[in-house]
């Protein structure tokens, strides 16, 4: 039997006892923390049915607050990825250009928007629209959130596209050259279609980041997304702050884990597909795409 990990041996009788002791100790510690949390919650009167009940028995809290908020979150995230993709692809391709005077400015723009915090982009976009355009103030937060997310994620996706194209075997470009394709033809007919399948998992993973970032709009610009429903809900249901925070967090966790699972499934699918080159761009491993 092989060891479960290279870091330790298959446990013998002594190690088994030791592990059992650690398990018990760890469970006790967890139970202690859990008990402390529950006791504090109970003391602060946060565990009553009055506060948790509405989420399970009343449809109204879902139809008035949570579903409309969730819908706005999804609209903003969907718009952001749909607009950011073509922009990101364009800049990713420009960064691979043979001409320095195209490559360098495109690279500068991409690096700049990757270095600037999304929240600052949001503040700026919001103020810009209110000063210089006559956008209806109902739609301004949505517009500002989408603009900021497009600028930031366009820059991140540009890097994904670049990595996707560079991950293709050089034989693809060479074969395209050999049959007389021009540079643009090589890109649009050979490299890009293959790169897109390789990038799909990374793009879906980026969607998780975008969904999380929409909450910034709810907090800073008053965009009525899922996050911004926390205060209205707890104001309407007996100050059930903890219950509301928990339920909203659970919704985000489910949504994001669903997207992550989809990314994993896509990765498997594009690996198995016979027509693709079998390369897969991992979600950018450089943390720049978190938040």
């Amino acid at each position: 039997m092989s060891a479960p990990s290279v870091l330790y041996d298959v446990p013998g009788p002594k190690a088994k006892t030791r592990n059992a002791v650690y398990t018990v100790l760890f469970l006790l510690a967890l139970a202690g923390v859990g008990w402390w949390i529950i006791a504090t919650l109970a003391e602060k009167d946060q565990l009553t049915w009055q506060k948790w009940g509405p989420f399970f028995t009343e449809g109204q809290v879902w139809t008035t607050f949570i579903f409309p908020g969730l819908l706005n979150t999804l609209i903003a995230a969907g718009l952001a990825i749909v607009i950011a993709l073509p922009i990101g692809s364009l800049f990713g391709i420009l960064r691979l250009s043979d001409h320095v005077w195209i490559r360098v400015p495109a690279g500068t723009v991409v690096e700049f928007f990757r270095a600037v915090p999304v929240l600052i982009l949001m503040f700026f976009a919001n103020e810009f629209y209110s000063e210089y355009t006559d956008v209806d103030s109902d739609y301004r937060p949505l517009l500002a959130v989408v603009t900021a997310l497009v600028l930031y994620n366009g820059a991140v996706l540009a890097e994904v596209v670049r990595a996707g194209i560079q991950s293709l075997p050089t034989g693809q470009t060479e074969a395209a050259k050999a049959i007389g394709m021009r540079k643009t033809q090589t890109m649009t007919n050979v490299l890009l279609p293959q790169a897109v399948t390789a990038m799909l998992p990374a793009i879906v993973s980026q969607l998780v980041v975008i969904v999380k970032d929409t909450a910034l709009g709810g907090a800073a610009l008053g965009f009525s997304d899922l996050f911004s429903q926390i205060r209205p809900i707890s104001n309407n249901y007996f100050a059930n702050t903890i219950a509301t925070l928990t339920i909203v967090a659970v919704i985000y966790i489910l949504l994001n884990n669903l997207l992550t699972a989809a990314a994993g499934w896509l990765e498997k699918w594009s690996r198995q597909r016979k027509t693709s080159s079998g390369t897969v761009v991992k979600p950018l491993d450089d943390g720049n795409n978190e938040l």
Partner: protein, 222 residues
């Protein structure tokens, strides 16, 4: 036109950003390393806890984590983290939130670093009779850390940018000052934006360059 530069304490605001980043980075490194240790430990319940913690906390928007600290932990449950003034309390709450969130990314980077250490290293250590804790502490983690300086640098840069979220609970860091300035100085919003954007470029660029060089030097050549 550039009057706004002297009217506001921009450097002071960025100093708070730096402080938030440094404290959160130290905390995340510690808690992230402990989490990574749990995720590779021989005790199944610890592995399960580490995995669940990382998967859950990583999926929650950072904004929600930070607001939960203020709205939940402080205002509802009354935890003050030893602070007596509201600014101190909010600063500490923000740091706690950043540590809880960023440590998941530190943990995942470290775990991938542990996987890059050749099997022979751990096997040789076990053959010498070292136990799990010794293998991890003396053999595997030192090599793993050296190979993840690159990814950890990116986490640090992301953390620097993420500290702007602290403005949502009123910590007076750079983005809070910007949101105030951009409303007062509405005729120069482009300049205000560029000032703060450049501030962040100046903060993050040297980290990337410096630690990039360190990462190159420190990587174990195989």
């Amino acid at each position: 036109m550039f009057d706004f530069l002297t009217e506001y304490d921009i450097l002071g605001a960025f100093w708070v950003t730096v402080q938030l980043t440094v404290y959160s980075a130290i905390g995340s490194l510690l808690w992230g390393t402990i989490l990574a240790g749990m995720r590779v430990s021989p005790v199944p319940i610890m592995r399960a806890f580490g995995g669940a913690y990382v998967n859950i906390v990583r999926s929650i928007p950072l904004t929600l984590v930070i607001i939960s600290m203020s709205l939940g932990l402080n205002q509802t449950l009354g935890a003050a983290l030893g602070g007596d003034v509201l600014t101190t309390i909010n600063f500490r709450l923000a740091v706690l939130g950043f540590v809880l969130y960023t440590s998941t990314f530190v943990c995942e980077s470290l775990r991938s670093g542990i996987n890059t250490v050749p099997v022979g290293q751990a096997e040789a250590a076990r053959a010498l009779g070292l136990n799990f804790g010794q293998v991890l502490r003396m053999i595997v983690l030192p090599q793993a850390f050296r190979s993840v300086i690159g990814p950890l640098t990116s986490v640090l840069i992301a953390l620097t940018k993420n500290t702007t979220v602290a403005s949502t609970i009123g910590v007076a860091e750079a983005s809070l000052l910007m949101s105030e300035m951009i409303e007062n100085e509405s005729d120069v919003i482009g300049l205000v934006f560029m000032t703060f954007a450049m501030g962040f470029v100046i903060l993050t660029l040297p980290i990337g360059l410096l630690l990039g060089r360190v990462a190159k030097k420190a990587t174990v050549k195989r």
